[in-house]
Every structure is written in structure tokens, then in C-alpha cells.
């Protein structure tokens, strides 16, 4: 005998499924992100007088001791200062180098389009640490080791492909009609650049600068090789707490400090930056 089955209206099952799946995935990703960060936050707030360990799930007593400790007794403020200085130099240098090239690739009909794409992919062809240590040798020969300029030059190398990609997309997206109209109304080449191109690529330029600045703030391999020991950046100081002297509490604090630029860039990307820049940023061809 066949069991009688209640047939749910199809739409209801579908609705349930189409709710459950994103809800499930959403929960997974929430956990994916919130749990690690949450743990870091908790660890940074542990009170040294009430050590947190098994079997407690949560620390019993919170205090800002470790935050104060890290900021007072470690070089984190110096590291932040260094990172900011290097990032600023990097961003300015990167923009200056990328603008003319992006204009040329984006607007000028140049042969050898493939070569350009290959050159842009070159930095990815060498392992990061390999480039770091051999470039580092060169820089120490040139006396650039342990200097802001040295680190900045290295950072520019890492961030240029990204800036170039974003700016090229920006330049390409200026409609030719508008440039023609400007020329038609009497604008000489420099006028066209100043009056039409520059205002229209400013959004892309801002996006590029933000990504470059953040990229420089977070770059590790080159800062480590070239900067150490004289100049500590935030990533290198974090590294020192992750190695032999694993200081979980200090590491938590520095980690959270390092995440601040990430949060900023994430908010900015969601609000201001068009997806084509993001696509360029993620290296989609």
C-alpha cells in the first residue's frame, strides 16, 4: 500500500530552500569571519590577572591592559608612523609613475598590447620572498637598505601593476566622443588632458591610491628584508610576535590595529568604487 503523502505546494518548498541556502551560507561566512576576529578581540582584552585558559569558553574578566601595554612599551607607534610614511611616499610615487603609462596604454593605439600585459604580470612571476631577498641585496649595495626610500621603492614595485590596471581601465572608459568634442571646440592636447581626462579619471585615481596605500601598509616580505632592523613597519612588528616569542595578547592587539585599514578600504569599496575597479584590482583579465 502506498503511503499517503501530503504534497506541499511547490512554491513553499522552493521558498524554504531558497531561504535556507543563503541563510546557511550566510551563517557559515559570518562564522568564517566573525569568529576569528572575535577571538582576537577577546584575547586582546584579557585581564592579565585572570588568565584565560581551558576550560573557560570566554575570559572571565576583561581589561584594556594589553592595549595600553602594547602602545606604551612596544614600538607600535613607531611602526605605525613608519608604515604611514612609507605608504605615503609609495602612493605618490606609484601614481606619478602610473599616470603617464596608463594614459598611453588606455588611449593611444600602441602595438604590442600583449607585451604590456606580460610586463604587468612579471612581479607575480617571481616568488615574493625571492624577489625580496635578491632585490634586498641590490638595495644594500646601493645603500638603500634600512631607509624609507628603499622600502618605498620596493613597495612601488608591488603596487604598480594594480595602480596601472585601475588607471588604464579609467582612461579607457573616457568616451572618445567627449575628447573629440573638446578638440572640436578648440582644446589643444594639454587642455584636453587637463580639462577632460583628469577630472574623469579622478575616481579611478582615488581608488588606485587607496588600494596602493593599503597595499603598502600591509606589505611584509620586502619591508622585512629591506627595512629590518632599523625600520619596523606594522606587519614586521606583528611578525615578531608570531615567531618564537608567541605573545598571543600582543599579537592580538597588533592584529586588530592592522585590520583598521582593511575595514576602511572595505567600506570605501562598497560605497564609492565601481565594480570594474574591483575587478581590475582582483586581477581579472
Amino acid at each position: 500500500m502506498k503511503k499517503k503523502r501530503t504534497i506541499r505546494p511547490r512554491s513553499l518548498t522552493k521558498k524554504l530552500v531558497s531561504f535556507m541556502i543563503p541563510a546557511g551560507v550566510g551563517l557559515i561566512f559570518l562564522a568564517w569571519i566573525v569568529v576569528p576576529i572575535g577571538m582576537a578581540v577577546l584575547w586582546s582584552l584579557v585581564n592579565p590577572d585572570y588568565p584565560w585558559s581551558y576550560p573557560q569558553i570566554f575570559p572571565t574578566n576583561l581589561s584594556t591592559f594589553h592595549w595600553e601595554h602594547v602602545f606604551k612599551y612596544t614600538n607600535i607607534l613607531g611602526a605605525i608612523k613608519n608604515s604611514l610614511i612609507v605608504a605615503t611616499i609609495t602612493t605618490v610615487g606609484c601614481a606619478a609613475l602610473a599616470l603617464p603609462t596608463a594614459y598611453a596604454i588606455g588611449r593611444r593605439k600602441l602595438i604590442g598590447g600583449e607585451t604590456f600585459k606580460i610586463v604587468m604580470l612579471l612581479p607575480m612571476a617571481m616568488p615574493g620572498m625571492a624577489m625580496a631577498i635578491f632585490l634586498g641585496r641590490l638595495f644594500s649595495q646601493w645603500g638603500l637598505a634600512n631607509s624609507y626610500i628603499g622600502i618605498a621603492l620596493a613597495h612601488i614595485l608591488c603596487t604598480l601593476p594594480l595602480m596601472l590596471r585601475i588607471l588604464t581601465v579609467s582612461f579607457e572608459s573616457v568616451p572618445q566622443d567627449i575628447i573629440d568634442a573638446a578638440a572640436n571646440l578648440g582644446a589643444k592636447p594639454w587642455d584636453r588632458f587637463k580639462e577632460v581626462y583628469v577630472p574623469m579619471i579622478v575616481p579611478g585615481l582615488i581608488a588606485g591610491c587607496i588600494f596602493t596605500f593599503i597595499g603598502s601598509m600591509e606589505e611584509f616580505n620586502l619591508s622585512f628584508i629591506i627595512g629590518a632592523p632599523a625600520i619596523q613597519t606594522v606587519p614586521t612588528i606583528l611578525y615578531s610576535y608570531l615567531g618564537y616569542n608567541f605573545l598571543r595578547t600582543n599579537a592580538s592587539v597588533v592584529t586588530l590595529v592592522m585590520m583598521v585599514p582593511n575595514i576602511i578600504v572595505l567600506m570605501l569599496t562598497e560605497h564609492f568604487i565601481k565594480t570594474e575597479y574591483l575587478g581590475a584590482a582582483l586581477g581579472k583579465m
Binding site: 573629440d180 578638440a183 572640436n184 582644446a187
Partner: protein
């Protein structure tokens, strides 16, 4: 201020593709001339050569006799109205219009007056502070127009400026463009594929096809006295029939076709071979049962295939042996499908065309 434009044997190729195959014409100052033709005929290419965005491989373009071939666009003092309007999105309407004045180094004290006048001329008074995206298509079109006229160019160039507007607006704006041009007296070159538009507003029409000029004539002439098959067919609709020459007397030409002979009233007949006889649907007079054929007319008879009510007229498609002819009659007629019908086409409205 307004110049005479002379184009001499201009040729331009993109690789193997010949966009312009030797184009020549001469335009008097103050004329409104339309470059008319189907997509790919070269009319936009020609316009861009005149503006300076493209360089022809051979031939000359002269403004008032001066060769312009090597002069870059920003030095030619032409003004172009683009199909996409090409307004500067980051500038206000006021600044858009002001752009040309700044580039031409017009004294700053004169700017405001000139801009206000231009905005009044196109009906945009008071909208100076808006940005392009805040305006409708028609309004953006007018900004583009104002931007062009404010610099008092030698030549006004229009690249299908109305194709993005709806039909009613198009009819309205094209008349405004024409009147503005007439008022300012600037030579204008207007590119379009819409033959109704061309007929409505031009002093002269240059019909182009596949990189060549097919005919240069005033609207009436190009419509009633088409030079060849292409022009007859492209401008308006035409019934065309291949024919062969039979004889000619003082005012008539008689030709043979596979459905009989046709007589055309033709004053300047010179071609002998590769000819067609052509007549317009609206010139076909229905001859009802029992009526006599009017004098001085050709007869075309056949079976009605279908009749299409167009609102202002009735279009009748009829089979005549293996041909299908089209006639336009008054909308009151009742002509059932399948019935046999005769039409009279006056000699005066019958043309012999090349091709």
C-alpha cells in the same frame, strides 16, 4: 565668418576597406547640406574628415579655398554636434557651453552675455547650474547645440544628432535646428540616414552609397528626378523595373520591360544601357471598372495581393506577373484582396533611372 566648403576627390581606406572612394562637392556659404545614405556609406567618415578627426589618404578639403588637410581639429573652427551629445559630465551646463569660449580665448567679460544668449536661443534659460545627467535627452541635445553655436564657428557639423530622440521630438527639434542655422547664417553639414529628415530641412541633399556620391540636388529634384536606382529606392519608395531602350522623340522616351512598354517624359535623357523605369506609389492613379485610362499615362495592371491601411493612406501591394508593385491611394478606397486592378501612371511621373 561662414565659409565655402570644397571637397576634392577625397579617398579614405581602413586597411582593405575603402570608406570613401573619391568624393567631391562644393558648398556655398550659409547652405544647409545633408549627407544622406544607409549605414556604412561613408557619410560619418566624411564628416569626421571635414572636422579633422580623420585624415584622408588623398584629396583635399578646403575652407574658403584654404587647404585644411594638415590642420588639427582644434584649429579648424568647426563645431560638431555629436549623436551622443558628448557633453562633459563633470561640468555644469553653463561650463559646458563656456568651454569653447575659453578654448578660443574669448575675453572673459564677454562670456556671460554670449552664454545667456545661446541658452535663450535653444530654450534652456535658467538651467545653467544643472549637470548633464539631470537633463532629458532633448534638453541635452539643445545644450550640445548651444555649445556649438556660441563659438560662432565657420562650419556647423551634425552627426545624426536626433537619432536618440523619439519621433515627435525629432520632428520638432529638426525644425528648430534649421531655423537657428538660418538665423545665424553658418554653413551646416548634417549627417543622417533618415530621408524624411533630409527632405524636410535641407537646401541640398548629397546622397551617398558605399563611399561614393550618387546624387547632389535640392530635395524636390532628388525626389522627383532621382538620378539612379539607388537614389530612387532610398529616398521615398519607388517601383522599379529593369528595361531596355526602344526609341526617343522630342519629349518622350520609350523603353521595353517584361510587362510591356513604358513612356517617360524626360528632358535630359542620355543613358542607353543598364536602365530601369521608376515611378512613385503615390503617383499611381487607380482606374476602376468601366473607366477609361487617362491620356498620357502608362498602364500597370495586376491582382491585389494585400492592402495595408496606414492611417493617412491606403497602401496596395499588387502582383503583376512576377513583380510586386506598391501603390498609395486615398484611404477611402475599398479594394478587396484578390481582385484585379489597373493603375495609370502619367508619363510626367515616370522616370528612367540608371541601374
Amino acid at each position: 565668418m561662414s565659409v565655402r566648403l570644397t571637397v576634392s576627390d577625397v579617398k579614405l581606406s581602413y586597411g582593405d576597406f575603402q570608406a570613401l572612394k573619391g568624393v567631391s562637392f562644393d558648398i556655398e556659404p550659409g547652405q544647409f547640406v545633408t549627407l544622406l545614405g544607409p549605414s556604412g556609406c561613408g557619410k560619418t567618415t566624411l564628416l569626421r574628415c571635414i572636422a579633422g578627426f580623420l585624415e584622408p589618404q588623398s584629396g583635399e578639403i578646403r575652407f574658403d579655398g584654404c587647404i585644411m588637410n594638415d590642420v588639427p581639429p582644434h584649429k579648424r573652427n568647426t563645431a560638431m554636434c555629436f549623436q551622443s551629445y558628448a557633453l562633459f559630465p563633470h561640468k555644469t551646463i553653463y561650463e559646458n557651453i563656456r568651454f569653447g569660449l575659453r578654448m578660443h580665448k574669448v575675453p572673459v567679460t564677454e562670456h556671460d552675455e554670449l552664454i545667456q544668449k545661446a541658452m535663450d536661443m535653444v530654450g534652456l534659460t535658467g538651467l545653467g547650474n544643472r549637470k548633464p545627467y539631470e537633463l532629458s535627452g532633448g534638453q541635452q541635445q539643445r545644450v550640445a547645440l548651444a555649445r556649438c553655436v556660441v563659438v560662432r564657428p565657420n562650419l556647423l557639423l551634425f552627426d545624426e544628432p536626433l537619432s536618440n530622440l523619439d519621433a515627435k521630438l525629432r520632428e520638432k527639434v529638426r525644425v528648430e535646428i534649421r531655423e537657428l542655422q538660418r538665423e545665424l547664417g553658418i554653413t551646416a553639414i548634417y549627417v543622417t540616414h533618415d530621408q524624411a529628415e533630409a527632405l524636410a530641412i535641407s537646401d541640398t541633399i548629397i546622397a551617398m552609397n558605399q563611399g561614393c556620391i550618387e546624387q547632389i540636388a535640392a530635395p524636390r529634384t532628388i525626389y522627383d528626378k532621382s538620378a539612379n536606382r539607388f537614389v530612387a529606392d532610398f529616398i521615398g519608395t519607388a517601383n522599379l523595373l529593369r528595361s531596355s531602350f526602344r526609341e526617343k522623340d522630342i519629349c518622350n522616351v520609350v523603353v521595353d520591360t517584361d510587362i510591356g512598354s513604358f513612356t517617360a517624359l524626360d528632358d535630359n535623357y542620355t543613358k542607353l544601357d543598364d536602365i530601369s523605369v521608376s515611378w512613385r506609389p503615390e503617383d499611381m492613379i487607380p482606374v476602376l471598372e468601366g473607366q477609361d485610362i487617362p491620356r498620357g499615362c502608362n498602364v500597370v495592371s495586376g491582382i491585389v495581393r494585400n492592402s495595408v491601411y496606414m492611417g493617412d493612406r491606403l497602401d496596395i501591394f499588387m502582383n503583376c506577373q512576377e513583380h510586386v508593385f506598391r501603390a498609395s491611394v486615398a484611404r477611402d478606397y475599398v479594394i478587396p484582396e484578390g481582385s484585379s486592378i489597373r493603375f495609370a501612371v502619367p508619363f510626367a511621373k515616370t522616370r528612367i533611372v540608371q541601374g
